[in-house]
């Protein structure tokens, strides 16, 4: 069996290649990154398949026994994300070959981001998670700044300041958890925390959740997001939209489920539900008021991650499966949408909702793809966007959380209001319907969009599969064990 450490080591070590090689020979960055990512994808699929088919794949780095050493784990909860990271990276890479940026250093950052995000997904050590959070954070700050526009540097700096505050708050929470228990291992924390004096556990939970909420960009901790996504090169925006907040939300979910269940449940649930509700409502409102399509999509993420958080708060097996499905689905749909935005900016020089008017006639296929992605984001069946929401709503009803269920269901209408605006403009808006294209796009760019559109449709029925995978892991959870970790 493959050591999950390879999943982290391959992209991190491989990241040296593009930066170094492109100094020796120009334009070697992309193929080298492709090679590393192909290896990574094979490893990811292999490990994930093994983890989903049988027992979770785990390892203790350097053979130091748990809970003293750092453990890595690929189980049913992390496996989908490991695969998502690898495959999304490949798809967006296809896009960036022409869509740019193309410097060797950029591809080094690209691989570092992938390595960092994978690390966040597989580690079972809360401090180790911080380190990977910072690797992926630094890489994304650099990638946002890669755009030529001056606004990109300011957006990147804002992203850096807010992102670092988030990561540091998380670190502060780790400090509290450690002081309260003397351990950093998730399973050991789970075992020790109920015994810990309450305010410390609550502070640890509160700070870690707050920190990760900044990374997820829940309202009102979202301010970095629209600027960063709007200023970043389209490929970067797509990659970050697919992965950055998704992985942070995964980490949030893992902590809530595997480390902190039982810690001041009522207060925490109410607070998180409030945060989620604020995100859903405010995100939708901000999206509705955005003129730039990229910003609109960035704000829409607030609402979508609010829904995911609802699933983790409800925390029935159905709701958790829903959150996982919605995270994966949202990653695919949002990344695809950003790729379309980049594509259209390139081929038709359009960026705002007003400029999108009449695009369906000028660019019918890309518009149709965008329509599918948008309908998915709204939550129309049979797309994956519907499946995730439905599972979360169903879980909320099972658990009797009527507010949560109403929120998730109502979010469909919010989505309709802000995304319907764009679709209406594209399809029946009065616009310049005859202007020709202003630039060309590569087959790779179209292919990446097509992959996202097809995945949006194909993943619609993935729910039962995810539910089945998660069942054994969640059974352990009910039995009071830390997720996937043998006591």
């Amino acid at each position: 069996m493959i050591d999950p450490a390879l999943l982290v080591a391959v992209p991190l070590a491989g990241s040296a290649l593009p930066a170094v090689a492109s100094r020796l020979r120009p334009r070697t960055g992309w193929p080298l990154a492709l090679g590393v990512l192909l290896v990574q994808s094979v490893l990811a699929v292999w490990v994930a398949a093994a983890a989903l088919a049988g027992d979770p794949v785990r390892t203790q780095v350097a053979g130091i026994p748990a809970p003293f050493g750092i453990g890595l784990l690929v189980d049913a909860l992390s496996a989908p994300f490991v695969v998502l990271i690898a495959l999304a990276a490949l798809a967006v890479l296809a896009y960036t070959r022409r869509g740019g940026p193309r410097s060797g250093a950029f591809y080094s950052l690209y691989l570092l981001l992938i390595g960092g995000l994978t690390g966040v997904c597989v580690t079972t050590d809360v401090f180790n998670l911080y380190v990977f959070l910072e690797i992926s954070g630094l890489a994304s700050y650099g990638m946002v700044a890669q755009a030529d526009r001056g606004a990109a540097a300011l957006a990147a700096l804002k992203y850096l300041l807010v992102g670092t505050v988030g990561a540091s708050l998380y670190l502060f929470g780790v400090g509290y958890a450690y002081v309260a228990t003397g351990t950093l291992d998730m399973a050991a924390l789970r075992a020790a925390l109920p015994a810990a004096s309450d305010p410390l556990a609550l502070a640890a939970l509160g700070l870690m959740v707050l920190g990760l909420s900044v990374k997820v960009a829940l309202f009102p901790l979202h301010t970095w997001k629209p600027d960063a996504y709007e200023a970043a090169p389209p490929g970067v925006a797509a990659l970050l939209a697919a992965l950055a907040s998704t992985v942070a939300a995964y980490a949030l979910g893992r902590l809530l489920l595997a480390v902190f269940p039982g810690v001041a449940e009522a207060v925490v649930d109410a607070a998180l539900l409030g945060l989620a509700a604020a995100s859903i409502v405010a995100g939708s409102l901000l999206a509705y008021r955005s003129e730039s399509v990229a910003r609109l999509l960035a704000y829409s993420s607030l609402a979508q991650f609010g829904i995911v958080v609802v699933g983790f708060v409800v925390a029935t097996p159905t709701a958790i499966a829903g959150s996982v499905v919605h995270l994966i689905g949202h990653a695919v749909m949002k990344a695809g949408s950003f790729l379309v935005v980049g594509l259209l900016a390139r081929t038709h020089d359009v960026r705002t909702v007003a400029e999108y008017a009449g695009l369906a006639r000028r660019s019918p296929y890309v518009s149709a793809g965008f329509a599918v992605l948008a309908l998915g984001l709204i939550g129309i069946p049979p797309t994956v966007g519907f499946a995730g929401k439905f599972y979360i709503a169903l879980g909320a009803i099972e658990a009797g959380s009527w507010t949560a269920a109403a929120l998730v269901l109502a979010s469909t209408l919010f989505g309709l209001v802000y995304l319907g605006r764009v679709l209406e403009r594209m399809y029946v808006g009065e616009g310049d319907t005859h202007a020709g294209p202003t630039g060309a796009a590569s087959p790779g760019m179209y292919a990446a969009v097509a992959v996202a559109v097809l995945a949006t449709l194909a993943l619609g029925g993935v729910g039962p599969l995810v539910e089945g995978w998660l069942a054994p892991v969640l059974d352990g959870l009910d039995a009071g064990l830390a997720m996937g970790v043998v006591p």
């Binding site: 950052l109 401090f127 380190v131 002081v179 309450d198």
Partner: protein, 175 residues
């Protein structure tokens, strides 16, 4: 709680306040350097010589040098009062709320230096006990390279990421 610690803490907080209020960023940077040195001394007092060394070299040294280098390439505000005392009420409320919540947890924290604190059990005890087996005397080094070597691998990656990111930001990544 020795008077030395109390004095150091008072110094550190005071310098941090100066850093916060100074309108001239060069003054703020110098105050920050003093702040880092104060922390380094504090680390020594808290029996963390390795952290102290790093803080002195990296925190007070490298970071201050970086700030000065940046300031020398950019402008800094001149004129007006030396200290700015106006803070927006929102900031006061938000930061105040966070601080108050954190202060509320302080009584629950184990007393400083309490040998019965949970932190001294578990992993720490294991590390101290096993360090000898690896032929390393300094437990900090042992944890760094052996027990939590994966963190250190990540740390190297962080530094590399920062180097590449700086290259990209400075526009020198295009090769």
């Amino acid at each position: 709680m020795t008077p030395l610690v109390a004095a150091l803490l008072a110094f550190v907080v005071a310098v941090a306040v100066v850093t916060a209020l100074a309108r001239d960023v060069l003054v703020a940077t110098v105050a920050f350097a003093a702040y880092s040195l104060g922390l380094a001394v504090l680390w020594v007092v808290f029996d963390a010589p390795d952290v102290a060394l790093t803080e002195a070299a990296v925190g007070a040294g490298v970071v201050t040098a970086l700030f000065v280098a940046v300031l020398s390439r950019t402008t800094r505000p001149v004129g007006g009062r030396s200290f700015s005392l106006s803070v927006s009420p929102t900031v006061v409320i938000v930061v105040g709320a966070l601080t108050a919540a954190l202060v509320a947890t302080v009584p629950s924290l184990p007393a400083v230096g309490d040998p019965d604190a949970p932190a001294f059990d578990g992993a720490a005890a294991y590390y101290l006990q096993e360090t000898g087996a690896y032929g390393i005397d300094n437990a900090v080094t042992a944890v760094l390279v052996v027990f939590r070597g994966f963190d250190t691998f990540g740390e190297i990656a962080v530094v590399f990421t920062a180097v590449v990111a700086v290259l990209v930001v400075r526009g020198r990544g295009d090769a």
